[in-house]
């Protein structure tokens, strides 16, 4: 048989997969490896979906999605961040931010174009750039600097082939958010070199310190930015696969064209549910965010207390502690922690080379589970930290 697509064949499978296979075989595992809320979708939203089914909303919608929903998300973005988008020409309802990301890249990238991405980042970015025919150019952020965005490093990575910069704050996997000043500096670089910006703001509502900065609201950004957001995290709606993209008309038109030919439209029932979420879900969001924040403080303090050094994550629902005191690599740590103490975390290198030395722990799990996980990790650290210190002594002595 003739060889299959070479780009896809050459792309490595997700680094999360192997760990998932081991963990699924084991009993009594506490998983901190889940990248989704532990809340079930609030009842008012589920109930709206049931009602929509009863009413027979089982047809296609327009390609761009229900106009009411587009209007609702535009109002939400305006109310939250003061950004204005035309629901008719600049807004598209997508099947998760995953689809929005793919559409944005395919609408922007020509073969050979370079796309700068700020690592550590979500596992899909690199493959999506490759699938779109682009070349990913990772720029690392560092644990020592609190995973702060480094505009100077971004600018150093710009070449004549650079086409776009991808941003994701609050960040998966680090939980980092960025200052308005640093984000503006990146926007300025984009303006200076005429680059597009793709900003994945799916975790915007899960900001615990300060206020979220919408990239599109920054000076000079709007005309070159694709703003991606959705319902998965804020409203605990991951399985509904429903999100949206806002972009200036020329980009939105191209994204809609791809969407029209590949997806047709986002699921109608999910759009109805999302409409209820946008119109009446605010209290549910606040309650959930307050709950994550309690667990965040509790868990991060716990990690630091057992020697898993952790910069304060200010957004999303992840902590990204360093495992260097154990002398283990991210993968060794994750695998041994799972085998020895039955706690699943995700090795940081799954999110890019600069994630090496850290592991991603999701605190979107119950307080009781977090407490038990910390107790198990403490045992693990007591065994392995000693080992690391002995090793250090042996090499220095």
């Amino acid at each position: 048989m003739k060889p299959l697509n070479q780009v896809v064949s050459a792309t490595p499978p997700s680094g999360i997969r192997r760990l998932f296979d081991i963990a699924s075989q084991m009993q009594d595992v506490i998983s901190l490896g889940v990248g989704e809320p532990d809340f079930v979708t609030p009842w008012r939203i589920r109930e709206a979906a049931i009602y929509a089914l009863e009413r027979g909303y089982t047809t296609y919608t327009s390609n761009a999605g229900l106009l009411e929903l587009r209007e609702a998300v535009c109002s939400l973005q305006r109310a939250l961040y003061g950004v204005e988008y035309d629901p008719q020409q600049e807004t598209l309802i997508t099947v998760g931010v995953s689809e929005g990301l793919d559409l944005a890249l395919r609408a922007i990238v020509n073969p050979g174009d370079e796309v700068i991405l700020l690592e550590p980042c979500y596992v899909s970015y690199q493959p999506n750039i490759l699938f779109a025919g682009g070349t990913p150019v990772p720029v690392a952020s560092r644990a020592e600097e609190g995973f702060r965005l480094r505009p100077e490093a971004v600018e150093a990575a710009v070449t004549p082939r650079t086409k776009a910069i991808m941003l994701c704050y609050p960040n998966n996997p680090t939980g980092a958010t960025q200052s308005r000043v640093d984000l503006q500096a990146v926007v300025d670089i984009a303006v200076k070199h005429d680059l597009y910006l793709i900003s994945d703001e799916i975790y915007d509502r899960l900001t615990y310190v300060g206020r979220h900065t919408c990239v599109a609201s920054l000076e000079g950004a709007r005309e070159r930015t694709v703003l991606l957001n959705g319902f998965s995290k804020a409203y605990a709606m991951t399985g509904w696969r429903i999100a949206y993209a806002c972009a200036p008309r020329p980009i939105a038109a191209l994204m809609t064209k791809i969407h029209q030919y590949t997806m047709l439209c986002a699921p109608h029932i999910a759009q109805r549910a999302a409409l209820e979420a946008t119109l009446n879900g605010e209290n549910d969001v606040r309650e959930m965010v307050a709950d994550y924040d309690r667990r965040r403080r509790f868990f991060v303090r716990g990690l630091n207390a057992i020697g898993l050094d952790c910069v304060e994550p200010t957004g999303a629902f992840y902590a990204f502690p360093s495992v260097r005191r154990t002398g283990l690599t991210s993968e060794q740590f994750a695998e041994r922690l799972l085998q020895e103490e039955r706690v699943a975390v995700v090795p940081g290198n799954a999110f890019g080379a600069s994630g090496e030395g850290c592991v991603r722990c999701s605190y979107a799990t119950s307080m009781a589970q977090l407490e038990e996980a910390l107790a198990r990790m403490r045992r693990f650290m007591e065994r392995n930290r000693v080992f690391a210190e002995q090793e250090a002594k042996a090499t220095t002595g």
Partner: protein, 159 residues
């Protein structure tokens, strides 16, 4: 500060150390706040939500609508206080609508509750009518769902 109460309202056994970690307040400050609220009555008391039926003990609850002829100067307070002093009365509330007081009574059996209504409640001065509803099934009570609970359907590891 409100945060501390929200946490305790959810789980009264959360320790001051845990609350401190969850809120970012100092542990001493959490202890001080709790002590102050206990003194001032903001925190009334700590109790446990028990599913007696699951424990195997049958209890009977009745929701009784009570009509009261109010008296000048006294309103409903005096009648209410004569009712709420009975230990079998779980709650007494003044409500709007067709009746005046809504009383919840707990008993070991229907007969016991019926006797309470007939002998204690109905004959009270100025109680003009009672309308008793026996509880058949408790789905949710004071924020706690007593039937099925949503289980975690998430994959073990997800990006």
């Amino acid at each position: 500060m409100r945060e501390v109460l929200k946490i305790l309202e959810q789980d009264a056994r959360t320790s001051p150390a845990q609350i401190a970690a969850m809120t970012g307040l100092a542990e001493d400050e959490v202890r001080r706040l709790i002590a102050e609220w206990e003194r001032s009555g903001v925190i009334r008391r700590y109790k446990t939500v028990v599913d007696w039926e699951r424990f195997g003990e049958e209890k009977v609850y009745a929701y009784i609508d009570v009509s009261v002829a109010p008296e000048r100067g006294a309103g409903f307070d005096d009648v209410a206080s004569r009712i709420y002093r009975y230990p079998e009365v779980r709650s007494v509330m003044l409500v709007s609508g067709g009746h005046d007081l809504r009383v919840v009574v707990e008993g070991a059996g229907i007969k016991e509750v019926a006797n309470f209504v007939a002998e204690k409640l109905a004959p009270l001065d100025r109680v003009t009518a009672t309308n008793t509803h026996f509880l058949l099934k408790r789905y949710k009570d004071d924020g706690d769902i007593f039937v099925e609970s949503d289980s975690d359907h998430r994959l073990m590891v997800a990006p």
